[in-house]
Amino acid sequence: MKRHGLNNVVELVGRPRPRAEEAHASRRARRIVAVGGGKGGIGKSLVSANLGIALARAGHRVTLVDADLGGANLHTCLGIAQPQGTLSDVVTRGARLETLAAPTGIENLSLVSGAMDALDAANPRAQARARLVEQLQTLDADYLVLDLGAGTSLHTIDFFLLADHGVLVLLPEPTSVENAYRFLKAALFRRLQQAAQALGVAHLAEAALGSQGSAMRTPGEVVKAVAEMQPDAAAQLDRSLREFRVKLVVNQVRSSADQSVGRAVVAAWKKFFGLDMDYLGAIAYDDAAWQTVRKRRALLIDAAASTAATDLVTVAQALAALDRPRTGR
């Protein structure tokens, strides 16, 4: 199931992929979901694990991949032992991803651990990373859910960009929002760079971004600048940037004011950056969430009736709905 014969990260994320057409050609395309958010401790792993469970319960074949290379603990969220093989085996030994996927005890759900204890492992070299990416792209599952680490390191950003659905988790707190935006902007910027590079208009994009002071230009402005010289490339660039359509989840919502944060973020992002964002929903702050983590059990397994669990299921449904053939949408 080779997709495009592209074999490096830059191209993979940079070139506009003919995803839609391809999807309709065969069965429904496999989807890669990456869960990120910039800040640590905001529930990325919780969301990833339970999103995986919810999707698996809905009948999808799901592989969870712990892509928090430096601090993998998705297995703990699921209440299983750390799988023997990890992503580092792909990077260092060229192991196949399929062979590493361990059962989780939940039907349709397997886990690839990301634990990398080798000193250098959290920052694999470009080539090793490219190999990993290719395997991720070709893994046979309906959904591949990547749990990303905190921060805005290059590999984290690249995983996020590589996904069909980049899910941004944030808490209704300034620190989290700040980091989330930093993460988003870093990802968007890289997307822009890569797309421009793939289209051979990197110099134009650079010039447009230029030394224009602190404020980053909006994607639209960059596209416009490029269009003055190369209209065709600009059109593609525009398309590629619009694919940067982040899915938002607001976690640990406590008040009605918190409830409105998600919509506000979507609106503000659109207002200032001109890009759409899909709001998947809010997850209530719920004692059950941390309690189950302490018990090392998955929320959806151990406290399926809790508010947070219900919310997570709703989020999973919203996500899956995005992939449904475009009848309902």
Partner: protein
């Protein structure tokens, strides 16, 4: 995103031009929640200049669209294709740049000054929409509502803040020498000051009485709240700034008449003692002046303000200010941001923000060889 046209006020509020008043109100409320100072959603998303500009736009949209008469006029103006009309109307008003624009007919053209919605003021809390929060926070969107007509106005609030916020260099000298008299004298002008600032604070029902202003000088002479100083200036923006703050300490200047830049009597009063050196700009700026970097620099200098001071007050990066004054268009940020910078700068310099940004941007566009 690629649209080059100015967004309409409806675009700004993200509503359909056919929206009902209720829908508009809801949109304003929504916008306030989303983009107001309390909103998490804009935290660290963009810089203050961009945010300030958006808020100013939203204020403008709210004040125009929620006023049936002004909305009607505005609708007509966008209907008959803006630019040229805007220009002419603009010019008419220019003689008195900043000040109270007549609420009526011209309203639509010069949005920035429109806030002067006079008539049915009282009933609506809307005016305060964004401006209100600004008072105590940062954000130059505080409206300058000319409506000083009605109540004595709680203007003092602003001036007070401002006084406290005045950079030490400016206050200390005067304050230390004659703090006492300063406190007293302003009393009279206070009334006027209040009126001048009225519009801006009009949202705050009778909080501070004019007398409050008397406190300023004292407060400022103490000048021991550097933190406040750093924080406030940018927020108060507008007219009050130049005049009110430093004004109090040096009442002697009071009587000095206002040159061309001066708006209306109401606003003037507090001004005179305003600037460090000269009470106010001595520049005679023609109504139809086209603002370029050179002119802006002269206005700034006429106030005896350094780039650094302006940068601190407006929170506009000094580099940007320098580039603006040098007409280095290529080094300036994108138009949307640049407009924000110009608006803030104009307010600081007591110039008509709409006119400054319009003429400056036009010149920039010309320089780029694009049609305006």
């Amino acid at each position: 995103m690629t649209a080059t046209e100015e967004p309409t006020l409806y675009d700004v509020l993200e509503v359909d031009p056919g929206s009902s008043v209720d829908e508009l109100r809801a949109a304003v409320e929504r916008a306030r929640e989303t983009y107001g100072p309390e909103s998490l959603a804009v935290y660290a998303l963009v810089d203050e200049v961009q945010l300030g500009e958006l808020r100013a736009k939203l204020d403008e949209a709210a004040s125009v669209l929620l006023d049936p008469a002004r909305r009607a006029t505005y609708d007509r103006s966008i209907g008959r294709l803006g630019p040229s009309t805007l220009w002419t109307e603009d010019e008419e008003e220019d003689p008195a740049p900043l000040p109270p624009v007549e609420p009526g007919p011209h309203a639509p053209e010069t949005p920035l000054e429109l806030e002067a919605s006079g008539d049915e003021e009282g009933e609506e809390p809307r005016q305060e929409a964004f401006a209100l929060e600004l008072d105590d926070r940062s954000g130059p969107f505080a409206r300058a509502a000319p409506e000083s007509e009605e109540p004595p106005a709680p203007g003092p609030l602003l001036s007070e803040d401002w006084a406290a916020a005045v950079p030490a260099e400016q206050q200390t000298p005067r304050a230390s020498t004659q703090p006492e008299p300063a406190v007293e004298t302003p009393a009279a002008p206070v009334e006027t000051a209040g009126r001048g600032a009225a519009g801006e604070t009009s949202g705050v029902p009778g909080e501070a009485e004019p007398a409050g202003r008397n406190e300023d000088p004292a407060a400022s002479s103490d000048a021991e709240s550097p933190s406040e100083r750093g924080r406030l200036p940018p927020s108060l923006g507008l007219r009050v700034k130049p005049g009110a703050g430093p004004a109090s300490p040096a009442p002697e200047h009071e009587p000095s008449p206002e040159p061309a830049v001066a708006p209306g009597p109401a606003e003037r009063a507090p001004e005179p003692p305003a600037r460090p050196r000269e009470g106010r700009s001595r520049l005679d700026i023609p109504a139809d002046a086209e603002f370029n970097g050179e002119l802006l620099r002269r206005v700034r200098e006429s106030y005896g303000l350094s780039l650094q001071q302006v940068a601190e007050r407006t929170r506009i990066t000094r580099i940007h200010l320098e580039n603006v004054e040098a007409d280095r268009y290529d080094h300036l940020p994108a138009t949307v941001y640049l407009r924000g910078i110009l608006v803030n700068l104009a307010r600081e310099l007591r110039l008509d923000p709409a006119r400054v940004s319009k003429t400056y941007l036009l010149a920039a566009q010309r320089a780029h060889g694009r049609a305006p």
